[in-house]
């Protein structure tokens, strides 16, 4: 706002300000150069989605798809179009619901008095993040096994017949999202802990003097401190709504839950197994990306209107 007013004014003024802040541009330079060289230069690859791409011919040598939207239409017409998008969204939106958990975790850690316990707790909670997806899904399957797992044993004790949760389509998204929380909440909370560490302790002291309870301190000191970071992370999340990683879903899939577990990335993978379909998968990915981007733009606009925080 300040900037635009001045832009309306003297252009000489503009150059002056640019020259004055030359240091900032210098700071920007490395990232910009790297982006131009290694991300913008190959950007023409986006065209693969509009062509009949053959690696041997290269992108320029490959003929255009006839019509240019051929592969997009193929995806829209495909039997799996609605289902994969529905499944992808149901998982990503569900993940948004559990988004506050790392924040709550960070708030709790922040409240711990015992330095030792706090350190141990924080160190342990982030560690599962490093376990590979393959092992995690394997562990999950073992635990939930009605025959040999902990889950089965608990059901026995309760006298209930253990359902095979991995085989229930309805359970898929719950299992996926909550196992993600289990594994990554600790790691995800790190950024919020770091944000909370910037709070001036004198604020707490002042609050105590005023007779504030713990909950009030959290509400009026901690949470406002976290809002900029939270909003940023949330907006970024919204920009990933149609991109659900392939590996974990693929490992958790089986014939019984397939109707809920076929997502865009696994579908693209399966098509590619028989015979690599560069153009088709490029079109599907481009479609998801465009949708994500539009979502991001919209959410960002809304966020700026509500809270003045935005991505740009």
């Amino acid at each position: 706002m300040k900037v635009s007013k001045q832009q309306k004014g003297n252009t000489k003024n503009l150059w002056l300000r640019i020259r004055r802040n030359w240091g900032l541009y210098l700071l920007l330079l490395p990232a910009v150069i790297l982006l131009i060289c290694f991300t913008y230069r190959p950007m023409y690859g986006v065209l693969i989605a509009f062509k009949e791409y053959r690696p041997a011919k290269g992108i320029w040598g490959s003929p255009w798809a006839t019509p240019w939207y051929k592969y997009f239409k193929k995806f829209f017409d495909s039997y799996q179009f609605v289902n994969t998008i529905k499944n992808t969204l149901s998982i990503t939106l569900y993940s948004l619901l559990v988004f506050p958990i790392p924040i709550i975790l960070a708030l709790c850690i922040n409240q711990m008095r015992s330095g030792k316990f706090k350190k141990v707790f924080q160190t342990v909670t982030y560690m599962p993040h490093f376990i590979s997806t393959v092992v995690m899904v394997g562990l999950l399957t073992l635990l939930l096994s009605p025959g040999s797992g902990v889950f089965g044993a608990i059901c026995d004790v309760l006298g209930v017949e253990a359902p095979n949760l991995m085989g229930k389509a309805g359970a898929f998204k719950h299992l996926y999202v909550w196992s993600d929380v289990w594994q990554h909440a600790g790691w995800d909370s790190i950024i919020y802990i770091a944000a909370l560490s910037g709070i001036d302790p004198s604020l707490y002291e002042a609050a105590t003097v005023d007779g504030a309870t713990k909950m009030q301190k959290i509400k009026y000191i901690d949470i406002p401190m976290l809002i900029p970071t939270t909003v940023t992370m949330l907006i970024l999340r919204m920009g990933g709504l149609l991109s659900l990683g392939f590996e974990k879903v693929y490992l958790m899939q089986n014939d019984l839950n397939l109707v809920s577990s076929e997502v865009i990335s696994t579908y693209v993978y399966k098509i590619g197994v028989i015979n690599t379909q560069y153009s088709y998968s490029a079109a599907i990915n481009l479609f998801s990306t465009i949708v994500n981007f539009i979502l991001l733009l919209s959410v960002n606009k809304i966020s700026k209107r509500i809270s003045e925080n935005g991505l740009w």
């Binding site: 230069r41 690696p55 041997a56 290269g58 193929k74 399957t141 095979n164 019984l256 590619g272």
Partner: protein, 545 residues
């Protein structure tokens, strides 16, 4: 002083930006150049001509190096390059090989890069390296081989005469051969066979089952009684599976499918998509009965390979009763001796069926070796490859070199030596040779000279296969699809196959195949099953012409 530094920095800053941008975009047109490729002169120079010998050894007078790209499973590495045959060939022929060995782990991504990179090695080996559609979509990268074969490859030409299928399956839709095939020695004709735990049968006083109903009774007894004799009647899994149940269990119903197309060839040469057949419906009903009564492991559809393997090879006692497998030791580890292969189970029609291939299972494959356009000495490559197409070369490239793995006897026969301590026979063969990959040809006469011990490994399987040989059905052959067909197929099969598999899982676990059958057929047609069958029929017709 400071001001000058500042000014200098500013200038450098803007210069750098401009530099970066021109540099990066200057290269934009380059890609086109790269992919038009460095192709050799078609006219041979005098020098090359004089270096090359059209017959006899060495192949070239002065050393020539050829680059060969091949792929191998996971972590198998490049130890096979120490194979005696390969080393001898290098000395004899004066052709040095620069091997580029890639793991098949992430080959999908790397494949695209190699194809787009603008330059390929001289020779490509191994049918897993480039498949039909890779080759056909990028046909300009590979040399048509017909002339080379005729002029410089007497061994392979003879092989094609003796075994016409080698040529047939490698003939691409435009009539040329772009790759060469192989056949493997002493392949069994039967693929997976019924294997049952005979100790369990003995413990319960049961006879080997020969019909579906007898099988059912045996499996039920396995389930209800303490078949493995450890005092617990509930820890047995008569049958099990990982992420699904093998369709081999439907063999008695007449359903066999070793190539995975889900297509069966009828006697009158028409094709049936078996998931829509009555036999399949009956089979599913039977499997549902097994599941509902607890005979089938309740976790069949959700557990993974390692969990199934843990049940098969439980450290305390054998826990799986009946399965279709290659040989007992391929699945059951230390319990293998408790299992035996039984004759195929008779169906309700009184007949027996086994999945397999009268030509030998997975014996004949194409795309085993290709010569790329980037090879400057295609004649040299052709002659070098031809050396692989003798019987003796082929067995050394399937098991290992003569001297370490194979012993050649005075009477002209060959036997396999025992593997060294700590490694299995199969792993040893993979270490010592190209094994399944690469050019090979073994004629019927030569095969007779190879004596395999029937006690283990490939020899054992050859023996076991005999019980079921007469019942083997003809599989849908390894046809070649056109580029257009290859574009349509993946979407059709992904949708259709997945639907078939998920309804199958549902019907087996919950039943309802009769009620849902009509809708199922309609749905399949809506997904394009008719079009898929058209494609399969067209390809089959081209193949059998």
């Amino acid at each position: 002083m400071k001001k000058e530094v500042k000014a200098c920095l500013k200038r450098i800053t803007s210069l750098l930006l401009v530099f970066a941008m021109t540099l990066s975009f200057a290269g934009c047109g380059k890609e086109k150049q790269d992919t038009s490729g460095k192709m050799p002169d078609s006219a041979k120079t005098e020098k090359e001509d004089s270096n090359f010998n059209a017959t006899g050894m060495p192949i070239v007078k002065e050393l020539v190096t050829l680059t060969v790209l091949t792929t191998r499973w996971g972590n198998m590495g490049d130890s096979f390059t120490n194979n005696e045959f390969l080393k001898e060939l290098e000395e004899k022929s004066n052709v040095k090989i620069d091997w580029q060995v890639q793991s098949l782990n992430d080959w999908g991504e790397q494949k695209g890069i190699i194809l787009a990179g603008g330059e390929l090695p001289d020779i490509i080996m191994g049918f897993q390296t480039f498949n039909d559609s890779d080759i056909m979509s990028n046909l300009d990268l590979f040399l048509p081989l017909n002339d080379l074969i005729e002029s410089y490859m007497p061994n392979y030409s003879k092989a094609m005469e003796e075994m016409p299928d080698l040529k047939k399956i490698a003939t691409f839709p435009d009539g040329n051969m772009y790759s060469m095939s192989k056949n493997l020695p002493l392949r069994p004709i039967s693929c997976n066979q019924p294997i049952i735990n005979k100790v369990w049968l003995k413990n319960l006083g049961l006879e080997v089952p020969t019909t579906i109903d007898e099988l059912y009774n045996v499996l039920k007894a396995f389930k209800e009684q303490d078949a493995n004799g450890n005092g617990d009647p509930n820890d047995e899994f008569p049958i099990s599976g990982a992420k699904g149940i093998s369709m081999d269990f439907l063999n008695p119903f007449g359903i066999t499918d070793i190539n995975g197309f889900k297509i069966m060839v009828n006697e009158d040469d028409t094709l049936t998509y078996y998931p829509t057949s009555e036999a399949y419906k009956e089979g599913i009903k039977w499997l549902h009965k097994l599941y509902a009564e607890g005979i089938m492991d309740p976790e069949t559809f959700t557990q993974d390979d390692s969990m199934l393997s843990a049940k098969r090879q439980d450290p305390n006692v054998a826990r799986v009763g009946f399965e279709y497998a290659w040989t007992p030791d391929s699945n059951f580890g230390k319990w293998s001796s408790e299992y035996e292969v039984i004759p195929p189970i008779k169906g309700y029609d009184g007949k027996q069926y086994t999945g397999g291939d009268p030509n030998g299972v997975a014996s004949i494959m194409r795309n085993e070796v290709l010569i790329t356009k980037f090879c400057k000495n295609p004649e040299v490559a052709a002659r070098w490859i031809d050396e692989f197409y003798t019987g003796e070369a082929s067995i050394q490239n399937f098991w290992g070199g003569i001297g370490t793995v194979i012993t050649k006897h005075e009477d002209g026969t060959y036997t396999l030596n025992d593997p060294p301590e700590g490694t299995s026979a199969d792993a040893w063969y993979w270490d010592s040779s190209l094994r399944d990959f690469g050019p090979k040809y073994v004629s019927k006469e030569f095969e007779e000279k190879v004596k395999l011990s029937p006690a283990s490994g490939d020899g054992l399987k050859a023996e076991l296969s005999k019980i079921a040989e007469s019942t083997v059905t003809t599989p849908y052959p390894n046809v070649m699809f056109t580029n257009e067909e290859n574009e349509e197929r993946p979407t059709l099969t992904t949708d259709i196959d997945k639907y078939v598999e998920s309804t199958r899982a549902l019907w087996i676990t919950e039943g309802g195949v009769d009620e849902g059958w009509e809708e199922y057929l309609e749905q399949l047609n809506a997904m394009g099953l008719e079009r898929l069958m058209e494609i399969y029929a067209a390809a089959y017709e081209r193949y059998t012409k």
